[in-house]
Amino acid sequence: MMLDVPSHGPVWDLPLRLFHWTLLLAVLTAAVSGFLMPLNWLNLHLIAGTAIIVLLLFRLVWGFTGSSFSRFSSFMFSPSTVLAHVRALRKGETPHHPGHNPVGSVMIFALLGVLTLLTITGVIVLGGAEKQGVLKALVSYATGSATREVHEILAFGLLALVLGHIAGVIFESRRSGVNLARSMVTGDKPSTEPLTIAPPRIGAALAGLALTTLVIGSTALALWQLPAVNVPHEALDAAYEKQCGDCHIPFHPSLRGRSTWTTIMTTLDDHFGEDASLPDNEVAHLSDYLTLNAAERWDTRAANVFRGTEPLRITDTDFWKHRHADVDPAVFKTKKVGAKSNCEACHGDARAGLFSAQAINIPQE
């Protein structure tokens, strides 16, 4: 048995290896920021996700234009070939594949597929639930919020696949005596037979990348520029801000439904335990403003989750309590916050009714 002396390029070409390790870094960043970090680190998650999208698009092009073992065609095996490989392994045979073996290729396609679905669902969640990104004009809160569940399930699925991938690499490295992780660094993988490796088709690759960038990039840019629908952007009514803002922050009208605002405005003499009476003409003006701009008009998260009529106090709602369960109760007693109802002490965009993840900043004393 003679090892092939490489008179050709590496089994794993340099762009493929860079893709692999950059993808690892991006997935690690996305996983840590998504699973472990506080919500206001969302931008890091978005940067990682964007990097993954770019890498996947590169991989798509490279799957048709890279050197032999980067091409999808080199590791597209029929199910019967995959099963045959498993049977051979069970019998203790040592089938050799210079690139991905049939079982490994299933893992590669599974990883690429789940990652693709993760990025697509991620962009849908961002557009619908956060009203940000390229789909903010097209996806409803309901769709975005439901897709979030799918995104999370896929994320756990990816974790399982990554563990399987690592286990597979360890197993195959031991079985074949070739350190596969090292191969993905150096690109070299000893082969029992002479190899002919077709070089990358650089021209086609560049053309493919240019076309992908142009199509995806211009589409994304065009979508990005569409304004989010049913998201408030007007400043608060001046009289509302003045009259109601004397005692508490002027809660954005989208935080309560029409009937709740009507209840509040007709019971100002006992307003959450205080007399907050106003002259009739003021009450009429504010009631008109509040009911016109109440939650029913908007599709933000806040409008969706606080639309209900009970309980009257926002901080008594299940959603509010659930979302603030991790906040140290002492925070609400600090000088800068003072009360649970002082939303804008931590939510920089509370007055606009947006409550975006990135605008959360809990003041430190």
Binding site: G245, D246, C247, H248, I249, D269, D270, F272, G273, E274, D275, A276, S277, V337, G338, A339, S341, N342, A345
Partner: protein, 137 residues
Amino acid sequence: MRQSILAAALLLMATPIAIAAGPQDAVLANLAAQAKAADVGFSTFSAVDGKTFFFSTHSGGKPDTPSCVTCHSDNVKAFGKTRAGKVIEPMAISVNAQRFTDMEKVEKWFARNCNSVLGRDCTPQEKGDVATWLISQ
């Protein structure tokens, strides 16, 4: 001619008095007129009574707000805080000259807060006493 000189002289003499008189005088005069209308025996406002009223724990109002100091804090030269966490400007004139210069505002907040703390309107005497004390601070 002589009359207009006299008028000008009187105006000049009156001006320093008007300046020396505080910008809160109009509010106090208004409250005094209300007190006279309510009680023919009314003589004057008492800063001492106003201070006692301000610090007292009252009954009859809403349970969360038994006293003026609940929100205004027990230091009238310091910032208070509403139950919703919003800062309230100090009440003492020495640190907040805007207090008791706008009768409409004075009546609005006495109406709301007396009802919250005592469960009734304050009498003109009570309002005048509290205003007199805070203006002296």
